[in-house]
Amino acid sequence: MSANQLRILIVVDVVGALATETLDGAVWLMDSNKTGGSTNEGTGQLTTAVGRGDQLIWTTMSLECEAFAAIEAIEIDHNYCEVTRGVYEGTDIRYWLGKIKKDPGKSLVPYNVLFKLGSRAGTMSLSGPDLPAITGRAE
């Protein structure tokens, strides 16, 4: 099993989230590992199949190109995944980089995503219990 770079794209309905004051029904996640066993693609409960040493790269996009969306934090068990924030050189566009330290095996390791949306002060986060997660790749 070799280490891979996996991309996770989070689509946000910024206007919808700001209008209803919740991210429920306004966030969808997709990753590049559907063929490697990821499930719940295109939902708020994406489960990404990972292995030790894999790198995860999270980025976000707004449904309306005029609306600002950025990932402020990814909250995940650091025993499994260590996350750091980066920016694309020469811009202020962020990515979040995660390194898988421990293979989750059969267990689900859920994580939360905090967003900065539009000109709203403060962050908005996903509400559980249905959160995105990482899990081990099926052998």
Partner: protein, 265 residues
């Protein structure tokens, strides 16, 4: 004019190339979820379009659709499409600055200069093939950094060339329900181009349309010098559910009348 609808199409390019089809590898979204759009996050998007009529049944206003397509492994759409040029230029500037810094330095030898010159990192070029032509393009990795020339290219670490919409056809176009066209845009995010369509909202029905999308396959042929992006044309369908439900004013929840702005007197 009612709120414009943004339709976002996210493609799992690797899966689509593997399957030879966009089916099951495409995720559609629009910003009309609260108005009854179904299939968000799937390849079966039915966008809710509320008709807009005068009392005599004639059409009151059209709906505008804007389309944006991206790949899961493409660079973020918020980066300019020519970001690779910016990154290549940045490397050149850094190299030139290092060479320039040697000017006036006492004790600089030819060996120092030679060392600097041999240390110049060239970015890996690729060729984008299209209609018999090709265009050289700097390969960027998933974090937007140029891939060093000559290094073995690990496909999972290369940012995919973004897919492109080339046409919109199908029932809704043939029957004159939507009028699609590609427009120039001052926003360079999409290379200055985007697809848009106006919808005649007078005929309530579920109408289908077909998006023609080119995805690119990165081919590393041992015989050729450059890795190249081969265009692979594909299509996928989506739907518009035009209903006779009234258009709502997003501010008041009522009909589309005068906006709730206080009068200056």
């Amino acid at each position: 004019m009612t709120q414009q609808r943004g339709i976002v199409i996210v493609i799992d390019v690797e899966a689509a190339l593997q399957a030879g089809s966009l089916e099951g590898c495409t995720y559609f979204f629009d910003n009309a979820g609260p108005f009854g759009t179904t299939g968000l996050g799937t390849d079966k998007l039915v966008s809710a379009i509320h008709g807009s009529y005068w009392l005599d049944g004639s059409q009151a206003s059209e709906q505008v659709l804007n389309f944006a397509v991206t790949g899961i492994t493409s660079l973020p759409v918020t980066l300019p499409r020519d970001y690779e040029r910016h990154q290549a230029r940045q490397r050149e500037r850094e190299t030139l600055a290092k060479i320039r810094a040697l000017i006036g330095e006492a004790g600089v030898t030819n060996a120092d200069i030679r060392k600097l010159l041999t240390g110049i990192e060239m970015p890996q070029l690729s060729a984008i093939r299209s209609f018999g032509h090709h265009l050289k393009h700097v390969l960027l990795d998933n974090l937007g950094q140029p891939v060093p020339a000559g290094a073995k290219v690990d496909q999972s670490s290369v940012a995919q060339l973004p897919p492109t919409i080339t046409d919109i056809t199908g029932e809704a176009v043939e029957k004159g329900i939507i009028y699609p066209a590609q427009y120039g845009s001052p926003d360079l995010v999409n290379g200055g181009w985007y697809w848009s369509a106006t919808v005649a909202t007078h005929s309530p029905k579920v109408w289908s349309y077909t998006l023609h999308i080119v995805v690119y396959r990165l081919v590393q042929d041992a015989a050729s010098q450059l890795p190249s992006w081969e265009p692979v044309p594909m299509t996928c369908d989506a739907w518009l559910n035009i209903s006779s439900k009234p258009v709502r004013n997003g501010f008041t929840g009522g009909g589309t009348g005068i906006l709730p702005i206080g009068l200056p007197y």
